[in-house]
């Protein structure tokens, strides 16, 4: 086991170590903490870069050691891993910078950044887990490390949201655990295999279906599928950088990543389809897409609206996986990245609005565009991207999802996409209208832009979002990488 091959472990450990050091440093060593935070993020980015090049070249990465007889802690790096890992490595750096600026002078920063790093470590672990056992360990670790972030403010509302979050995610985890162990009983080793390691002759159909449903429910909680979604809008009480990370890479992405692993590497596309589970997944996802959008219309609070939008948008990924077929999978997985970039921008901007101008609700947004043009500029592009306006990234997703639906004969997918586009427009465009075209109420016209530490992250992510749409044809763009993945899965 060479140091190079063990790269996934270093990637996980880099932020875990940072977390431990930050906890140990205590509250007052501010500059040291900032240094550790940024250093760890940069180091991780470099490691991930090396790994990305390696995986693209076809190098094999892997670490494994037994925790108990028959239960191995195993990490690896396949192309799907790299998708999530790269996204989170980039967004972690950006969000760290944002969070340092955002939490200036607020209490309990050591706790915050400690768990923040731990949360990223867990995400990395989920991404690079090579079997269901390891996956589950990091999946639960993520729940544990995000909870303190969600309740960070400590207000009664935050505490309620946190409890809801835990109730949902821990129950989901338990259901997932039963599913995984059940699978262990019928299938033995739990290593992910492209095309799935479960075969139809392992157990009666009903057992296979039941286990699939258990695991889908377990991962679906984090992916915020209807009706397991209601923790997500509540969790928006967290500080903006947390919401940003939660919605963009950490929790919901991990959930949907789990669904992807379940379908691709546990059951395999063929068996999933043979059990009829692809229809179940696609159906749930489609309903969630519409439901989330409709509920977003009713949200008055900006972050809550964004949260409902996440409920809806994340299900695009599920829809893509559920439809199956190369094009839909490309669309779904590309959205994993695209949604992350766009949604993190939106949350950064929402954070800036509330931090600088105390703007929290949609009806307070009047004229805010001209008061903080850069922030709202980023917001605007990200929102348009969410609607699916080309050339921003969201369009690429919809294009491939729609094609995927149509090529597999699921014409209703196009209907869902169009309806969702309309609904997205219906809740995003009024915000943009207020921001840019309505005169500010109460004569607040002072122009005050967010400080660079809050602004630059938003600009970087929005540029990435626009870039990954506009330059989707470039090699190593998210779309091209996803196409690579899809080829490897379907060969």
């Amino acid at each position: 086991m060479s140091l190079y091959a063990a790269m996934p472990l270093w990637v996980v450990l880099s932020s875990m170590l940072a977390s431990v050091i930050i906890f140990a440093l205590g509250e007052d060593r501010r500059r040291m903490r900032t240094f550790i935070n940024l250093a760890a993020a940069v180091i991780k980015l470099i490691l991930v870069g090396i790994m990305l090049a390696g995986v693209a070249r076809g190098d094999q990465f892997g670490v494994r050691f037994a925790l108990a007889p028959g239960l191995e802690f195993a990490l690896h790096a396949d192309s799907l891993t790299m998708l999530l890992i790269t996204l989170s490595a980039i967004l972690w750096l950006v969000t760290t910078i944002y969070a340092i600026g955002y939490l200036e002078d607020s209490p309990n920063r050591a706790r915050f950044f400690g768990f923040f790093s731990l949360c990223v470590a867990a995400t990395m672990g989920v991404a690079s887990a090579a079997n269901l056992f390891t996956f589950f360990i990091f999946y639960e670790l993520l729940t544990l490390s995000t909870w303190p972030l969600v309740v960070h403010r400590g207000t009664p509302k935050a505490m309620r949201a946190g409890s809801k979050y835990l109730a949902y995610t821990l129950s989901g985890g338990t259901v997932l655990l039963i599913g995984i162990i059940g699978l262990h009983v019928i299938a033995g080793p739990l290593d992910f295999v492209h095309g799935g390691f479960v075969t139809a002759d392992m157990a009666p159909r009903s057992v296979l279906v039941a286990l699939f449903v258990l695991m889908l429910a377990g991962t679906g909680v984090k992916a915020a599928f209807f009706p397991l979604h209601s923790w997500l809008p509540a969790a928006m009480v967290a500080p903006a950088p947390v919401s940003a990370l939660l919605h963009a890479v950490a929790v919901v992405k991990v959930g949907i990543f789990g669904v992807a692993r379940l379908v691709f590497d546990v059951y395999g596309l063929e068996l999933t389809a043979a059990l009829g589970m692809d229809h179940l997944l696609a159906g749930i996802a489609a309903f969630t897409i519409l439901y989330g959008s409709v509920r977003a219309l009713g949200a008055v609070n900006i972050k809550q609206r964004l949260a409902w939008s996440t409920v809806s948008q994340v299900s695009y990924i599920g829809l893509g996986i559920g439809i199956g077929g190369p094009l839909a999978i490309v669309g779904g997985l590309a959205h994993l990245v695209h949604q992350g970039l766009m949604k993190i921008t939106l949350f950064f901007c929402a954070g800036n609005l509330s931090e600088i101008h105390e703007v929290k609700n949609v009806d307070q947004m009047d004229g805010i565009g001209w008061r903080m043009p850069w922030t709202m500029g980023a917001f605007t592009f990200a929102a348009l991207g969410m609607i699916g306006v080309p050339p921003i990234a969201g369009f690429i997703t919809k294009w491939y999802l729609g094609l995927g639906g149509a090529t597999t004969g699921a014409w209703w997918v196009i209907g869902v996409l169009v309806a969702s586009t309309l609904l997205n427009a219906a809740y995003f465009l009024p915000m943009l209208r207020r921001a840019w075209f309505v005169a500010p109420a109460g004569g607040h016209t002072d122009r005050r832009e967010a400080p660079p530490s809050l602004l630059v992250p938003a600009l970087v992510t929005v540029l990435l979002a626009v870039g990954s749409g506009f330059l989707a044809g470039m090699p190593m763009s998210p779309l091209q990488w996803v196409m690579l993945i899809s080829e490897r899965f379907l060969q």
Binding site: L71, L144, W147, G154, M159, A167, T174, I178, I181
Partner: protein
């Protein structure tokens, strides 16, 4: 050599209690038990290498084997429990060396003597190999334990200890009745001989029932648990740690020993299902009660009631995996629960009370103890990566493998309930200050390192158990009782 090791384990603490009493300086009196605890790791290590190397040991005190002499028996399970005792005792000793001198409530000398007696008793109990010896040791530990509860004085302590005493008394009597029946039927007391001899019938079932009932009262299994929460809550935290992690566990340990050893095959499957149902009821009941408490130590104590319920799940399944799961659960519970109680002790040390709302004080000195509670809470809830998780995994795995999925559900639901009360505690620690939190001023300025690290290391140990499955699972399989199927 082996005999010396065992003797050291049995009598070391007892003698130290005496010696320490005679030591001239308080400082030496504080350090003496710590030195002993470190010293006893040697015999434990020796015992461990012997058992791992040569299989289960049967030793006779004075050279006479059963049925004449007093036998001691060390198999994988006993070894594990002995090690658990050794480690928890070390932590408790280090902890009290710092906590007792500053604690005005407890008379240090009395506490130390009682605790050392209890320690000896526990070591004996885990190695005991015949029914009557077990009875004697049960009495010894019960008396020491009850006294440890009452040592903190005050009307609340007396009332709690009285109740504990009544239950312990009833438990002992039930157990003794059972022993009498067995002896009357077979004329045998040695577990090892009983296991291999052919006997049975309704009397054995009655005896099993009586002994189980008696031991259940000692172990505070639902529904005869009601003494435990109050007693453990009122006792000094260091004592609570030992009581919850070891004494209550010892009762459950003996039940498992009896059911799967001498009585294996005597009971119908329906009874086993009933036992597991009782365990599940305990898990649910204990957890719900824990969720309703407003004082930290009561939460932890009810958690013990709930956690002990898991151990009963082994009976209907009785497979190797279930065995591993249950033993692992017992070990990680021991470490986690001791850590939890010691951390609670730290909170009381700093704030003077253990109201949950007090945790919301903005006080960075609490952070370390909260972290300990979080780590041990993770293990208690069976969340990865921790010993509790591995135990739960094996237990669920065993249940599903045997087709009894309902016990898998029970174990899983128990984990969720545990998470609920653990996070309820942590929730207070992260919330903004509660109006009540500022009512009482902190009573101590700082937390001695000797009080911080023992719980922290115990909690980390509970987590680390999650990584040691490969290492430990062969050990706890040594000398499997006949009742455990492949």
């Amino acid at each position: 050599m082996l005999m010396a090791a065992v003797t050291a384990l049995l009598f070391g603490p007892l003698l130290t209690g005496l010696v320490v009493y005679l030591l001239p300086s308080r400082r030496l009196r504080d350090i003496g038990p710590v030195v002993l605890a470190i010293g006893l790791l040697g015999p434990l290590w020796h015992l461990g290498t012997e058992v791992v190397g040569a299989g289960p040991l049967v030793l006779a005190l004075g050279g006479h084997f059963a049925p004449l002499g007093i036998e001691l028996h060390v198999d994988g399970l006993a070894l594990a429990m002995l090690w658990l005792t050794g480690i928890v005792a070390l932590a408790v000793n280090v902890y009290v060396s710092a906590s007792l001198p500053v604690d005005a409530h407890f008379p240090a000398t009395g506490f130390r003597a009682l605790w050392l007696i209890l320690w000896s008793g526990l070591n004996a109990l885990f190695m005991a190999a015949d029914l009557f010896n077990i009875y004697v040791m049960l009495e010894l530990t019960a008396l020491a334990a009850v006294s440890l509860v009452v040592v903190s004085r005050g009307p609340e302590a007396v009332s709690a200890a009285t109740r504990y005493f009544l239950f312990a008394l009833a438990g002992s009597l039930f157990y003794l009745l059972g022993v009498a029946l067995v002896y009357g039927q077979t004329g045998l007391l040695s577990l090892r001989v009983l296991e291999t001899s052919s006997w049975g019938g309704p009397v054995s079932l009655l005896a099993l029932g009586l002994m189980t009932g008696g031991l259940a009262m000692k172990a505070a299994l639902f529904p005869v648990h009601a003494w435990l929460p109050r007693a453990h809550a009122v006792a000094p935290s260091a004592a609570s740690a030992a009581l919850s992690a070891l004494v209550a566990m010892a009762g459950a340990y003996l039940i498992i020993r009896l059911w799967l050893g001498p009585f294996a095959g005597h009971w119908p499957q329906a009874l086993a299902q009933g036992m597991a149902a009782l365990g599940t009821a305990g898990i649910v009941y204990g957890s719900i009660q824990a969720l309703r408490q407003s004082r930290l130590k009561l939460v932890i104590a009810y958690s013990t009631v709930a956690q002990l319920g898991y151990l009963l799940l082994i009976f209907p399944i009785a497979s190797l995996l279930a065995w591993q799961g249950v033993v692992y659960h017992a070990l990680s519970h021991g470490l986690a629960k001791a850590a939890f109680f010691l951390a609670a002790g730290n909170i009381i040390h700093l704030l003077g009370n253990d109201r949950l709302t007090s945790l919301s004080r903005r006080d960075h000195r609490l952070a370390g103890s909260v972290m300990v509670m979080a780590l041990s809470g993770i293990s208690l809830s069976g969340l990865p990566p921790s010993g509790g998780f591995l135990g739960k995994w094996w237990l669920i795995n065993a249940a599903l493998e045997s087709g009894q999925w309902w016990w898998a559900l029970a174990a899983a639901a128990g984990g969720l309930l545990a998470a609920a009360y653990v996070f309820r505690v942590l929730r207070h620690a992260l919330a903004e200050p509660h109006p009540d939190a500022a009512r009482d001023a902190p009573i101590a300025d700082n937390l001695p390192r000797r009080m911080f690290w023992p719980p922290m290391l115990l909690a980390l140990g509970a987590v680390a158990l999650g990584f040691a499955g490969q290492l430990l699972s062969p050990v706890i399989r040594i000398g499997l009782p006949t009742g455990v199927g492949g």
